[in-house]
Amino acid sequence: MKKVVIAMLVFFISMPFLMAGGSSESADDVVTVTWYASRPLGGEIDTAIREIAEDYSQEMGGKWKLEVETTADRPSYLQKLKTLIAGGNMPDIIDIDADPYCQELVDAGMLVNVKQFLEDEGLYDDYHEVALRYQEFVDGTMYTLPLEYHIEMIWYNKTIFEQYGLEAPETMDEWLEICRVLDENGITPISVDGVDRWPVLRYMAMIPFRYSGNQYIIDLRDGKASMGDDLGRKAIEFVQEIGQYFNDGFAATDYATAQSMFLDGKSAMYYIGDWEQNPMLEKYLAGEIDYFLLPMVDGAVTGPNEYCANSGIGMAFNVETFDEKTKGFIMYLIEHYGDVYASKMQMSPMKGELPADVEFTPLYHRIAEDMGNYGSAFMKPWDTYLDPATNTILQDNLLLLASGDMDAETFIQLVDQSIAENT
């Protein structure tokens, strides 16, 4: 009797462990595709894809479904993604930039060659050229599909500018002079989201882009240039100079706070892309705010119509499950995405007429016009070039550099050393 009772106890207590090791596949034959996404939940991309997936699911008679798991916060997303992949659990669809980590996945044969796929299916020319080129690696290969298309600009408060007799700058020197005037008059010139790091990194990239396109950052990554080179020092000086005009405590200021500071008139300027055109719309229409594009420098190799344009984080596909589960959906997605996405007042990476049944705002048309006039070079974020370790070091210490808590020499040494060690 004792043995029976003990055996029963062992069995019941062990049940959860035995069950945990079992299969999680459901009994029915519904094909489930998982998309591990880093898009704002309920945002335009998220809703557009869910709508299209729902339609596709119905066309497939309910035998196919898309399961979306979202982590909008990018650093957390990347950390979870890396953990999933390191653990051998790569989802069917992921979001990823064409960065060195993505290259590692490509080298390991884990991602679908999207450029090849688009060309094979005759879909390559359906996209804006810059939107696709942004997704390319330096060697011209492409493993991520763009879902958005953006330009970035510097928004400014017209009321404050008029009050101090200022006009939108055309050169970097004019821009710094405006900052100086505002600062002297007790106005916070620029509000910056330092918590997310990337907005500060954009300032670092501005001067090198004007003088060399993306060549400097490519050379820096490849060890052919030093952060202490002339161009690197110019970039550092610019960050140091403009950093003193950032809002107090910008290192601890988050995205929403930086933006609300600008919209509440507590700062005069704010750097962000057109994806934030909706919050800007009301004040833009009221004539209270406007934007200017990246100012120029003497001797620039990039034009005034060339600045930071991007097609955002791309969508990549697990090579192991693509043909079997994902390919049909992606074909369907590409067919419908342009219309669905543009009808949400968003800039689509795909060419084509705007939907006739949607009334687009004057701001949308203006941004679309700027996009239409775009040149060919585009400022690509530095974090998509550098290795993960150098990115961490660069972004951590850039905040100190901009706040004046680190000198240029220390910064140069840290970045150069990291690149030497990690490339």
């Binding site: 207590i13 390191a86 590692e104 107090d248 405590g249 290192a251 200021t253 500071m261 951590d396 100190l400």
Partner: protein, 293 residues
């Protein structure tokens, strides 16, 4: 049935789930961390054995040293707040006659607030835009010159990320000490009072020595907790600006999951484990020596 309970094998059966859970959730990850710490691995593809290279790198890495010393400051602040303030509140609570449960509950509330909420709350309180609670208080008492963004200032950020963790668990240690203090035999204190001891002497010479095992236990929990401190500092500053509020655990996490250096991250993890074991060992040595005296 009572026979089954007396059976020694039955004890093993009851221990089995906990033991299995411990082996899988604690022991296996530790052993695997030790293994990976000898490897060079970016999270994809095969690992490469590199011997002690990750450990030698530890001792030439200035950020590692900075994180280590930051961790010591963090430990002092957190342990100081949790133990001293917890003990102070517990002692004060023993003198309260009414609403003891209410006060205990109120002080315990921070322990059950989710970490993200604690982080967000302190982020708001430290901010200058909009003006946070700390700066409003300074402003209202005429110390507006001290107002600053506490998380962005390199001179204050380390203390600023330590305080929320200390604040959060002060109530928990207060409850532990309070339970220990009220469980003491009142006759001992009464005898001391009859012998002429004042309240301070009774507390210092009688009550605290009697709850010494509880103090040592909570000190152990508190120190090992602070050595592993991660969530609030990571949420508030991600170790920044620069590495000014970097702790060993945040540095370990960033090395593994931001820089993709899983081998080096594991070496830091192993260091944290060894450091925690060493801290407990030293604490036990000290307390044993005192007992011997």
């Amino acid at each position: 049935m009572s026979g089954v309970i007396r059976n020694r094998k039955a004890y093993l059966v009851f221990l089995l789930p906990g033991l299995l859970f411990y082996l899988f959730a604690v022991f296996y990850p530790i052993i695997d961390s030790v293994r990976i710490s000898f490897m060079k691995w970016g999270g994809i593809g095969p690992m490469k054995f590199i011997g002690l290279a990750n450990y030698t790198k530890l001792f030439t890495d200035h950020v590692f040293y900075k994180s280590f010393f930051n961790n010591l400051v963090y430990l002092v602040i957190v342990v100081g707040m949790q133990l001293l303030i917890g003990l102070l509140f517990a002692v004060l609570l023993t003198y309260m006659k009414k609403h003891v449960s209410l006060v205990k509950t109120l002080y315990y509330v921070p322990c059950i607030i989710t970490t993200v909420a604690v982080g967000q709350m302190f982020r708001s309180m430290y901010a200058t835009e909009p003006m946070g609670l700390f700066n409003i208080i300074l402003d209202s008492v005429g110390l507006e010159s001290l107002a600053r963004s506490w998380l962005a200032d390199i001179n204050t950020v380390l203390a600023a990320v330590s305080i929320p963790e200390g604040w959060r668990f002060t109530g928990m240690y207060m409850v532990i000490y309070y339970a220990a203090l009220i469980s003491l035999d009142p006759q001992v204190s009464e005898a001391a009072e009859i012998d002429g001891a004042n309240a301070w002497q009774t507390l210092w010479k009688i009550k605290l020595p009697m709850i010494r095992p509880v103090i040592i236990l909570s000190l152990t929990m508190c120190i090992t907790g602070a050595l592993r401190g991660f969530d609030v500092p990571f949420l508030l500053t991600n170790g920044g600006p620069g590495n000014e509020s970097e702790l060993l655990s945040t540095y370990m996490y960033k090395q593994a999951f931001s820089s993709n250096q899983f081998g080096y991250g594991s070496a830091i993890a192993v260091f944290i484990i060894v450091e925690s074991i060493l801290a407990v060992f030293i604490l036990r040595m000290i307390t044993r020596n005192r007992e011997a005296i």
